[in-house]
């Protein structure tokens, strides 16, 4: 069975500092990995994905994520945080083993950027 873990409920960072939001996953086959962001009273917005190829993927709003197969991790990063990055972030995984595969989400990490 596939699963996703986000070990931090909350991450606090000062504006202008780099940020990292952690994610680890477990799948039977090859993973397709995603990050989504949710602002208050808004739907989930897609940020970026890893399918294959370069382990460092770049996405919207200056975010990037690094896929590490040996550590089964897919941490979200940004070199310089903005106050407007404050939101709830979800990591998700699709297990590509088998003919049909659902997307499973982590429990979320609340990112708070202080001015």
């Amino acid at each position: 069975a596939q699963s996703v873990a986000q070990p931090e409920d909350q991450v606090n960072v000062a504006e202008g500092n780099p940020l990292t939001v952690k994610c680890t996953y477990s799948v039977s086959g090859n993973p397709y990995l995603f990050w989504y962001v949710q602002y208050p009273n808004r739907g989930l917005q897609f940020l970026l994905k890893y399918i294959t190829g370069d382990n460092l993927v770049k996405g919207s709003y200056g975010f990037e994520a690094e896929f590490n197969k040996s550590q089964t991790s897919f941490h979200l990063k940004k070199p310089s945080a903005l106050v407007s990055d404050s939101a709830l972030y979800f990591c998700a995984v699709r297990d590509m083993q088998g003919s049909a595969s659902k997307i499973i989400f982590g429990s979320g990490t609340r990112l708070s950027i202080r001015p």
Binding site: Y36, L44, Q45, M96, S101, K102, F105, G108
Partner: protein, 114 residues
């Protein structure tokens, strides 16, 4: 439409009543997903359609929950004999197909059972 549309946006119902939640996916998307999200939690998978058929319904919590997608486009999530514990935001998402593509989410339906 331009995005995934869910109706109603809010639904308040009495315990024991039946409710239907509707999802209009992005035109041409063959995959459709239903999730349930409680406050401050991650989306909990309910069911996944590929075309008209449910490819995976392992997340439906019990037999009070049922979903259909008869023509491979619009989907309806049906909840019988609602309970207060069913209160949550129900999210629908669609994607062009199974595989590596990401899913696009609607704004959700906030269901409150009183």
């Amino acid at each position: 439409g331009a995005g995934v549309s869910q109706t109603p946006s809010n639904k308040v119902t009495e315990k024991g009543k039946y409710v239907e939640l509707r999802c209009d996916p992005i035109s041409g998307h063959t995959a459709l997903y239903w999730y349930r999200q409680s406050l401050g939690q991650g989306p909990e998978f309910l069911i996944y359609f590929q075309g008209t058929g449910a490819a995976d319904d392992s997340g439906l919590p019990n037999d009070r929950f049922f979903a259909v997608r008869p023509e491979g486009s619009v989907s309806t999530l049906k909840i019988q004999r609602t309970e207060r514990g069913d209160s949550a935001v129900y999210l629908c998402a669609s994607s062009p197909g199974q595989g590596h593509t990401e899913a696009f989410f609607g704004q959700g339906t906030r269901l409150t059972v009183v």
